[in-house]
């Protein structure tokens, strides 16, 4: 179970997320959506314990991530936004994917291959990461998040730089892993169109939680307008204020 109770957090004096209260029962498949600067990444980082709370409490499977980072490391896997990574680094794909297990003291090439196969990048194992296209790099980073045997996987914009066909394939794969392995996923994303088929739990965030519930109940113009600032209903399509799905 993941519980956030009246959590506020930010950087320095700046509050980025305010009074967040939510609880998610394991295993869950949830998406956090909202405009740029809404605090989506910050929310993930609070769950990891790397951004300190200003107020409130957090429990990740009964663990406070700020107090027991070691336990969190074992059960939570994370994929950062690609902008946080040194993309010019001359490091091989297999070394990128193996990073979580090597740092934890394990090194199993079969796990690396399996993770790469899940994302459809197994033939790039020995390539230099920086030489891959944006979409392939994203798949490799996703493989890195999947290589470890984690209970909770936090993904920050995993589908960026990937074409629409790839997005559908990957989202489908993630949902399959969630169902088969009973892994919880918390995904930060902009592309809500890929979610529709799977009806995930949707959290609309804009500094505060605007609405949360099943996608089919929440992905409605009135909630989206409140989250994104503006909504245009045009010929059956919803076009949201900023980046949109």
């Amino acid at each position: 179970m993941i519980v956030m109770d009246h959590v506020s957090a930010g950087y320095g004096d700046r509050i980025v997320i305010e009074d967040i209260t939510i609880s998610l029962k394991h295993p869950f498949f949830a998406v956090i959506a909202g405009p740029n600067g809404a605090g989506k990444s910050t929310m993930l980082k609070v769950l990891l314990g790397i951004v300190k709370r200003k107020s409130g409490s957090v429990s990740v499977f009964g663990i406070d991530p700020e107090l027991d980072k070691k336990s969190i490391r074992r059960i939570v896997s994370y994929m950062p936004q690609s902008s946080a990574i040194n993309l010019d680094m001359p490091i091989k794909v297999k070394d990128v994917v193996a990073m979580p297990i090597r740092i934890l003291g394990e090194d199993d090439e079969s796990l690396v291959r399996e993770a790469l196969k899940i994302v459809g990048a197994e033939k790039y194992e020995n390539e230099i990461f920086s030489k891959l296209s944006g979409g392939l790099r994203q798949r490799v980073l996703l493989a890195r998040a999947l290589v470890k045997d984690a209970k909770l996987i936090l993904l920050d914009e995993p589908l960026s730089h990937i074409d629409s066909k790839g997005r559908s394939e990957i989202f489908s794969t993630l949902y399959k892993i969630h169902e088969e392995r009973e892994v919880s996923f918390l995904i930060v994303g902009h592309d809500l169109s890929v979610c529709a088929l799977y009806d995930p739990y949707l959290i609309l965030l804009n500094r505060r939680i605007v609405a949360h519930g099943w996608f089919s109940e929440i992905a409605k113009p009135e909630y989206l307008a409140e989250a994104y600032g503006s909504v245009l209903l045009r010929e059956g399509f919803i076009v949201m204020g900023e980046e949109h799905g």
Partner: protein, 264 residues
Amino acid sequence: MVDPLLVSGLLSASLASIVAGLIGVLINYTRTQFLAIESLHMIIAASLVGGLVAWYYRALPSEFVSLITMALFILIAVLMLEKGFSQDTSMGFTIAVASMIASLFSYYVALLTPGGVSYVYTVLFGNPFLIPPSSIASYLLAGVLLVLVLLFLWRIFIYIAFDPETFEILRGGVRIYRWILYMLIAFSAIYITRLIGAIPAHIALMMPGIIASRVEQGSSYIAIIFSFLSSITSIVISYQVGIPYGALLGIISISLYLLLLVKR
């Protein structure tokens, strides 16, 4: 019978090149070129301060004074960082302070101390042929220790350079490991400077990584092999022809890099 001067030169250049090749790759990957240059400037200043103070106060060993001076420079940089100045500003300011002290003390070392000019030259440009054989064993031991530590922590440094946020989540201690890396760069810079001089050390630290990334992205082996071969070649030619080792090292490195640029 091989001339002992040549033997000293080959051994000194070899040791310096292996450490330089290894740390140079890390400097390239971790984008700490500015820090490496800062270290060299601090070493120049610290060596000159040590030389002059030890000449005036015989009881004080020059290495001890040099180390204290280095520590003070590092303290300036750290205090500025803690006060919120950017890394570039902190390092740039420290380089300016070190250069000011180097200018001042080099003048007085050259003017007032016996053999002062020679001492200043050796600090700046080294003299690998004159490293005594008795010291080579110590340098070998120190070099082996440095290389072992670098290899032991290599993967950690690479992963932190690639994705510090995820490393912090997975293991923590990014800040501490970064400080260890900075200390290793400083120790390596001191080591290389002692063997081949501070100015050639600039070339030794920068060029292997740059050339390796031009040849094959990601190849640490190419950097170390290049560093070693260029050093040995430079020493042999220097011995034969009488051109300074540092100049030859620069000529070989720069020529090869320009050749690679033209070839591409």
